[in-house]
């Protein structure tokens, strides 16, 4: 079972990496992240570019360049990242892939699906990069 594309997963992991940095103001090198997390450098670069375009990250070229968060990790929530990388309609899907249905006479999976989606949305809305990076900072989890 997979609910996020590789692009979203890599983007999320990189943001957690950045958020877990000691010095919040310093740029983090994409090369360093890609090697540390064993993700293709160019692929990760492309993903982070869209996060930069969408205002999640600052970026700077040249020596000591890289990317940095535009906001404190406690103010960046998963839901925003997922909507940027997966699409704005991420939570507007039907379990069976129907374009529209279910209002009048929903199928037996409808209530389940609506509920699952709201659980995901709720969790994504409440989980910040700060929370996600907490255990990394303590050195308790690899990324």
């Amino acid at each position: 079972m997979k609910v996020l594309s590789n692009a979203s997963i890599y983007g999320l992991r990189a943001l957690i990496y950045v958020a877990s940095q000691k010095n919040e103001k310093e740029y983090v090198s994409i090369r360093e992240m890609s090697e540390s997390m064993d993700i293709s450098f160019h692929f990760l670069t492309k993903i982070l570019q869209t996060l930069t375009k969408n205002g999640i990250l600052y970026s700077s070229r040249g020596p000591h360049g890289g990317v940095a968060l535009t906001r404190p990790p406690g103010q960046v929530f998963m839901v925003e990242i997922v909507k940027i990388l997966e699409g704005e309609d991420y939570f507007d899907t039907c379990f069976l892939g129907h374009p529209d249905c279910g209002i009048a006479a929903p199928c037996p999976m409808h209530d389940f699906w609506i509920n699952v989606k709201s659980v995901f949305l709720d969790r994504f809305e409440k989980t910040s990069l700060e929370e996600l990076s907490a255990k990394i900072k303590e050195g308790k989890l690899r990324l």
Copy 2:
């Protein structure tokens, strides 16, 4: 958000279609199903072939041929279909795509993810084709 591939969705819908048939013993034509549900005939055929190979369906060629359930709809559960069409390891995934991790120092999403997967597994284990086809039989839901 998508948790099932198109192949699984089409396979499930076709099984629901078969299960909602009045005469349980009669073969249902794949052509009829593909046209009624607006699914590619050849694609659906291929999917139903793997379900036949895996003992979910009988099949017969020629006039009045088609597919039929090997068991009563009340004895066929979603979990079996999903594991056949998505792979046996469908429920053995990590939220962040790691091959192994989390036992010692799980990430903040681990508990959430484990819980979500068990909710899915539980529901898939308890939902039979009979339940899924109930509303169709009443004519209350399109497929």
